[in-house]
Symmetry: C2
DNA sequence: CAACTCTTTCCCGTTATTCGCAACCGAGGT
DNA sequence: ACCTCGGTTGCGAATAACGGGAAAGAGTTG
């Protein structure tokens, strides 16, 4: 099945440029299930004449968005995609897209909301909204790094990376102890990860900051773990942590939708 | 100055689609120096009518390649760029583009050539060509991880990341000792990095595998460190390591050119 | 609160670009 | 040598894009 994201509707709305739109549609057609395309394949897939497909592909290749293997004459994603990916990271668009979601989550729960992405064996906070209690710290939350082995923010993500990769990552890694509740044993940690993965959420109390409770869920992108969304507050406020889970899940799905362009519709997974 | 990469020539060659090409040109216009654009700015920059710029931007936004802040009405890179970036990583295009360069380097020097990219406090070999001595190992080189603190492959890269980031990365990190020559002291390592950065290359002997000498240079992408290119061989073969430096440098520049689309022209930096 | 400016968006006749058919090519296979 | 399959090229017809201008918002100033 083709990606149901930004490429869901293949018709170009009035007032937009059909030819440009087709090129973008082709670009989005490069998916995990289709890493390379040939001219005829594109023509058939989109119902175009071969000559159209040929010209679209050639144009994309001309600007480096695709590269063509001269032998097989098939097209793959090109280095311009690398540039775009790097630009995305520093564009600040992510915050722009998710800040409203985090804000709604924070006002609804009263907690601090955090969206975090993996970054060299840590989780980096890339967006955050303070809870009603207000910020307790004097540094901005965005940009902060959390260790991979402590706290629900990290656990919600790392629990969902393939076990082999995780084992390799955590092997021979010293686990710093931050509080008395920090888990520093590899095997115990792995058991934690299993549990988190089965349940679909992570809940930790004082593993990184004592007195702070955190509830986290993974954020997936096209089936792959991408980051985690979490809410944190004082230990006392989280006496019934699972009450927050539905809201948190819904917010995570909204984030996923914003990033994949999936049409806002009935919830599914 | 505009990016002199894939967007160097703003005219569309015959046989290609002008409208699609314009959209791609706009996408490439989102640069480190220009994170967001308005309709009028695009029109002026490219010498188009405002209505054209408006339609191009709207089309790009429609497919998620751009997002628009409803308040400022300015456009930024959108989540489709995130998707493209991830696709690039798994497309295998990188190997396709650099393998010929590595092959030429290996036949010229007789060494094993390796292109490596940083990956969670390691360097990951993403492309490699064995030297004339042939492979000594029984596992594929591509995919292998090198620790950040040992060997020229890692040092050539990490020497060029900003000092603050590097210090943060290396702090509280235990340095495994692989051979008697592995540098495990943070301060000594930092001195190494300084020297490597000043000289523009790293040369190590037996820091990771004893008996193996490695010469590495950084690979930059639009002024930022991206990875490293290195040649490795037996310690005896590297009695005059600097003889290889010009070839290695030239190969690194070729890699950079393939990835940025800079026109093959006179060397500059 | 109204007038002004700046920018974006919409509209529509004209024109240049794209379409799509068909022929051509080149590589592999029979 | 022939056939088949996928890719490329040429060209007239049709259509999608262009671009001038008008209208609509948003923000600012008097």
């Amino acid at each position: 099945m083709a990606s149901g994201g930004f490429a869901a509707d293949r018709t170009t709305p009035a007032g937009l440029l059909q030819t440009a739109d087709r090129a973008l549609l082709v670009l989005l057609g490069f998916d995990r299930s289709r890493l390379d395309w040939g001219v005829t394949e594109v023509a058939e897939e989109f119902g175009w004449d071969k000559s159209i497909a040929q010209r679209v592909l050639a144009t994309l290749a001309h600007r480096g968005f695709l590269v063509t293997d001269p032998n097989t004459r098939r097209y793959r994603i090109g280095p311009a995609a690398l540039h775009l990916g790097r630009m995305w990271e520093r564009s600040g668009s992510l915050r722009m897209l998710v800040d409203p979601i985090l804000a709604e989550l924070s006002t609804a729960t009263g907690d601090t909301s955090v969206l975090a992405l993996p970054d060299s064996f840590h989780m980096r906070c890339v967006a955050a909204v303070d809870g009603e209690a207000g910020p307790i710290r004097y540094y901005p939350l965005v940009g902060e790094l959390y260790p991979a082995h402590a706290g629900a923010t990290s656990k919600a993500y790392y629990a969902n990376v393939p076990e082999d990769d995780r084992r390799r990552l955590f092997r021979d890694r010293p686990m710093a102890r931050f509080t008395s509740r920090t888990v520093t044993d590899v095997d115990e940690l792995e058991r934690d990860f299993r549990r988190v993965r089965e349940r679909g959420y992570a809940f930790t109390v004082g593993e990184y900051d004592s007195g702070v409770a955190t509830l986290g869920v993974p954020v997936f992108l096209r089936g792959e773990p991408y980051g985690s969304l979490s809410v944190a507050g004082s230990e006392q406020a989280f006496d019934r942590p699972l009450d927050r889970l539905p809201r948190l899940r819904r917010a995570a799905e909204q984030v996923e939708r914003r990033l994949t362009g999936a049409a806002p519709g009935p919830t599914h997974r």
